[in-house]
């Protein structure tokens, strides 16, 4: 199945996440990642949804049936900036510390916490770079890890702002 990235603008109401996610559940599609956050327009939230699907078009149409969904774009084929962040807690004994510090510099990651036997590293990048970083760091012993999931923005003038849609409706 093909992996699609959808950018979805929604009204910032309670339950809207539940409604949107339910559409994927109903069709039996697995969501690989989903990030929701505020946008430049008050009252509008933005989701980046990464989903495996052979027929994403149908899901998109059904998402549009939701009253609170403003706009959906499949940006899979568009030139985009893709970013996610990961926090990794490593089990680190003294002998490996220097090596890890060097690796974090290569990946422009940040060490945000150091304790006797652990280190927490923050790293941001495209999904491939994050994968790569995790692979490299794994042999040192990952105790905990959390990825944020992907946020995506189309490059150039084309974009996804809810401002116009909100203004039109208010008239």
């Amino acid at each position: 199945m093909k992996i699609h990235t959808l950018v979805v603008l929604v009204q910032d109401h309670p339950g809207v996440l539940n409604r949107a996610v339910s559409m994927f559940r109903r069709r039996g599609y697995n969501i690989a990642s989903l990030v929701v956050g505020h946008t430049e327009t008050p009252g509008v939230s933005r989701m980046t949804i990464v989903v495996e699907s052979d027929n994403v078009e149908q899901v998109v149409k059904q998402l549009y049936r939701l009253v609170e969904v403003l706009k959906i774009s499949d940006v899979t084929e568009d030139p985009v900036v893709d970013r996610e962040m990961v926090l990794v807690k490593l089990h680190v004994t003294g002998q490996h510390r220097a090596e890890i510090v060097a690796l974090t510099e290569v990946f422009t990651a940040k060490i945000v916490d150091v304790a006797t036997n652990t280190m927490v590293i923050e790293m941001t990048g495209g999904p491939a770079k994050v994968d790569n970083f995790i692979d490299v760091i794994r042999p040192f012993g990952i105790k905990e890890m959390m990825r944020t999931g992907r946020i995506t923005m189309v490059r150039g003038a084309k974009g996804h702002s809810g401002a116009e849609l909100i203004d039109q409706a208010a008239e």
Binding site: Q11, S22, K61, Y64, R65, L70, L165
Partner: protein, 573 residues
Amino acid sequence: MSEKRTGAQILCEALIQNGVDTMFGIPGGAIMPFYHAMWEYRTDLRHILCRHEQGAGHAAEGYARSTGRIGVCIGTSGPGTTNLVTPIADAWMDSTPMLAICGQVSSAVLGKDAFQETDITGITMPITKHNYLVKNINDIAYVVKEAIHIATTGRRGPVLVDITKDALQATAVPDYSKKIFLPGYRPTVTGSKKQIKAALSLMLKSKKPILMIGNGVMMSEASAEVRVFAERYKIPVITTLHGLGAFPEDHELSLGMPGMHGWVHANRAIQEADFLMNIGGRFDDRVTGKASTFAPNARIVHVDIDPSEIGKNIEVEIPIVGDARIVTLSMLEEEPEEKLVAEFHKNAAEWLTYVRELQTKHQHKQQYLNRPDTSTMLPHDVFAALTKQLNTRGNYRVVTDVGQHQMWAAQLLDWYKPRTHITSGGAGTMGFAVPAAMGVAVAHPEDTVWAIAGDGGFQMTNQEMIVIIQENIKNMKIAIINNGFLGMVRQWQELFEGKRYSGTPLTSPDFQKLAEAYGWTGITVESVDQIDAAIERAYAIDGPVLIDFRVEREVNVFPMVPQNKSIGEMITE
């Protein structure tokens, strides 16, 4: 309007302002403030007390489906609202404009498993067009306005408003003037001119055209326009289950119903057509049979107000998103070259003649009414007699339940007018007929409303019969096609499961006595020669009458397309 009011009073006023005059419901703890308030507004806002919330929901559906206006049902928190779930799902599947008003526990205890608390907005999320949990009195007036707007525009559907008890009890100065703000809800009603032109030019190139019309034509009141369109181009018209009545069945262009229990000639016509325009139908699997085999030779145009229906079940060549009536009007504005139209007329006439031959060769409706030679009473005898009486007397609406009788009614009664045939199509909800017919009877006191049900479905909601008495409703009759089985399941068991009648034989009470216990007139009919007199007596009595037709037990609905087969492969006997 500057006086303070309770949330419940505001709810009543908002409903009245948005065109509601009738509601079906049952009170309970959380919704009590609403009932307290509605007493003051009872001259403008009629409340009909039902016996089960499912009955209230179906009654609201009947009201909505027969009028096109919003149907309103009410339940209290917890079981009161979960009992509404079935009619809400039914309204969702059949695009019925419905407003469900639910009481909810006070906001202070929300989410704490309070007495009679159920997360009804969570439960109904996938089966409502939209739903609301209202906790603030200041939201009530606006939410009612928005909810009714959403339910009655675009593709119609159910909307649920769940209001906490404290919001109903609080007081505030109402503001009814807030304008509707729905940036994510702008249904496309006007079809694309370009697509419409393309569709017409595709049609005019065809030699074997079919026009298929469905629920959307009913919902958008497009019958007259569709008729003008069909007559102008002389295209044969097929009406789906929910399209029955949208095009008169005695019209020379009418081919009747397609699908699983549709007519052989209608299905053959679809399979052989080189052009099919579907207005307001959703290519349900009961219409298409195995989807990949549907209309293999046809280039398909699909007119639907809901873009998510287009391409969902059947791939189409030209999609037109829009309201059935507005799109049909736009199609009528087009003036194609007369030469093309003349050529098209010639081909369409030949095609229609061919389809009519198929019709005579196979089971024409009238031939189908010619009963086999047996002394027992067949369901067909009942429907033949009913058809005769309905046609003679006029002013009728028929509400059917789900199962064999539903298909016989669709096949064997004559449908001439929109909103005269009301049934549970998409969801197939047994128990629909009696309460839905009550809703229809309330909305149309000038018509005789027949609920036709099987002995199985009837027993699921027959408690609503007493509401007819309490409300002094005179214009409702019930016909039970009583065969002592859950008949449609039995039919499948006979045809596909070696007659293993597992869980289908059905013992029933004496329906005549049951009717009498409810204050109805009950009639039992056990032989063919009693049918006419019973129906005549039902009409002669100014009040509710139930007729128990004890028909032959093992009769099948034919023609039939076995599940997941092509509609070209019909079993005819």
